[in-house]
Amino acid sequence: MTSNHTSVPSYMQGSTRRVGIMTDVHRRFLQLLMTHGVLEEWDVKRLQKHCYKVHDCNATVEKLEDFINNINSVLESLYIEIKKGVTEDDGRPIYALVNLATTSVSKMASDFAENELDLFRKALELIIDSETGFASSTNILNLVDQLKGKKMRKKEAEQVLQKFVQHKWLVEKEGEFTLHCRAILEMEQYIRETYPDAVKVCNICHSLLIQGQSCETCGIKMHLPCVAKYFQSNSEPRCPHCNDYWPHEIPEVFDPEKEREAGISKSNKKPLRSRQH
């Protein structure tokens, strides 16, 4: 198998940093990452190996961090990057291709109509303003009359919300909606720029916070995985800001090894083959 080595032409190098080399391995990786939207680290490693197998099976698989940094150096001039994040509920590392230059809804704009996008914005606002990071289906649906564009009935809006879930923009839990980890990764900048006053931020990592724990005395908030790391093996957890006793249950730090031992991970998709009848 021949791999297609093309170095980046000079007119692309708008950066003072040394720009990396793109081969078909990297291109395939980018394509698949984009198609999936967001992937967990374990899947990303599998994906990387797959791309090497297809395009350059004799090469050694580069360390993931370097591999991604290489690609990011090429993407820099396009204001795109592969961003690493962590799921808010259980601290799994995730990766997504994030657009740094355009506003959030650009990726959604081609999949959704004007009124659907507006429904998303309304849901987003409710989620950001909420205490728990969740907005109830009822509250979102009550805003249907305020939507821009074509009139939408509540029944239709319910289906649109499901569409958002399918496209990994929202997550539903018991009739309530919050942002999918993909949305948080992709839209953090947009959210912070658009809702600078309402936005919550984690006291530890200073990133956008949708779900988390708060100190009942001084009100600072922390992501669950940040709480897990900060209070790891601390028998008397205390608020980093006001030193009051931290009243919530301390979650466990995410351990990828334990995850693999537990067997099938949530996002393990087997390749599909056409069924033989």
């Binding site: 297609n4 032409p9 698949l32 198609t35 001039s77 506003t103 996008l117 009848h277």
Partner: protein, 288 residues
């Protein structure tokens, strides 16, 4: 270089884009905002810590923005008109629009392995195809697409087997016999009839033509330009063969036709990247 206006972010961009306007551009509003203005060089942001880049030429800046625009469009799989590119991204540089489109295409190929292909030279309409071998052997991404692609393969193969052109009712009857009633709302496909007659057609996988002199109007299906670019008759035949556990040569006429297409493709195919040919077409089981 002309003096760049001092942008104050959102308001400037909105004025420039006519965002307040009714019809056009909720879509454009997706491209407007402080970050986009930065990307289009409309903001002077000295000492921006994030991007310590040397200034790009305005054509390259527009080409970069166009690449992002195209990537979003790629996911939607709908054709893109040159006029859209000019309206939303190229704007005042429209005299250099072909140059910008070329630059964007180069980056698209070099970085992502995609390629812009003009499918309608009269109306200047383009689609984006995957240069890394349209013979995808890989699991397709989201659960959303795989069953739909499976359905599409079934429809494409039926059209091919029936001589490249099939009446609409034949397709729907065939699907019905497979257990899929296009009139009913399906858990995976939703409005199946709409999926086939509108979505697949819009994405250029299928062509939907009115049969002349029919009253009430009747329609027929053919392969669309994207189907020809992204798959091949041979792949479709192999898909069918696998399904029926038979050899593709059991269908001699179609086999010969598929071979002829392969040979004509090989004749003008000089790409080195065809190493990832796998027998497996975009996979998916036919609907139950």
């Amino acid at each position: 270089l002309p003096k760049r206006p001092r942008g104050r972010g959102p308001s400037t961009s909105r004025i420039l884009s006519g965002w307040e306007g009714p019809s056009t551009s909720w879509a454009l509003s997706a491209w407007e905002g402080p970050s986009t203005s930065r990307a289009l060089g409309l903001w002077e942001n000295p000492g921006s810590p994030q991007f310590e880049t040397q200034p790009l030429s305005p054509l390259d800046e527009r080409a970069n923005a166009l690449v992002q625009f195209l990537l979003v469009k790629y996911q939607a799989k709908v054709p893109i008109k040159r006029s859209e590119m000019v309206k939303f991204i190229i704007r005042e540089y429209k005299d250099e629009c072909l140059d910008i489109i070329n630059r964007a295409n180069n980056k698209l190929e070099c970085v992502f392995g995609y390629q812009l292909k003009e499918i309608d030279p009269k109306n200047h309409s383009y689609i984006i195809i995957n240069k890394l071998g349209h013979h995808k052997g890989e699991p397709v991404a989201s659960n959303l697409d795989t069953p739909k692609l499976g359905l599409l393969m079934v429809v494409l193969s039926l059209i091919f087997m029936k001589g490249n052109c099939v009446r609409e009712d034949l397709i729907f009857n065939f699907l019905y016999r497979l257990g899929l009633d296009v009139q009913e709302t399906h858990t995976l496909f939703g409005n199946t009839k709409k999926l086939i007659t509108e979505v697949f057609v819009r994405q250029k996988y299928l062509e939907y033509r009115r049969i002349p002199y029919t009253e009430p109007a009747e329609y027929e299906f053919l392969w669309g330009p994207r189907a020809f670019l992204e798959t091949s008759k041979m792949l479709v035949l192999r898909f069918l063969a696998k399904l029926h556990k038979r050899d593709p040569r059991c269908w001699p006429f179609q086999y010969i036709e598929a071979l002829a297409e392969c040979e004509s493709e090989d004749a003008d195919d000089d790409e080195p990247g065809s190493s990832d040919k796998c027998g497996d077409p975009t996979s998916g089981s036919p609907p139950r």
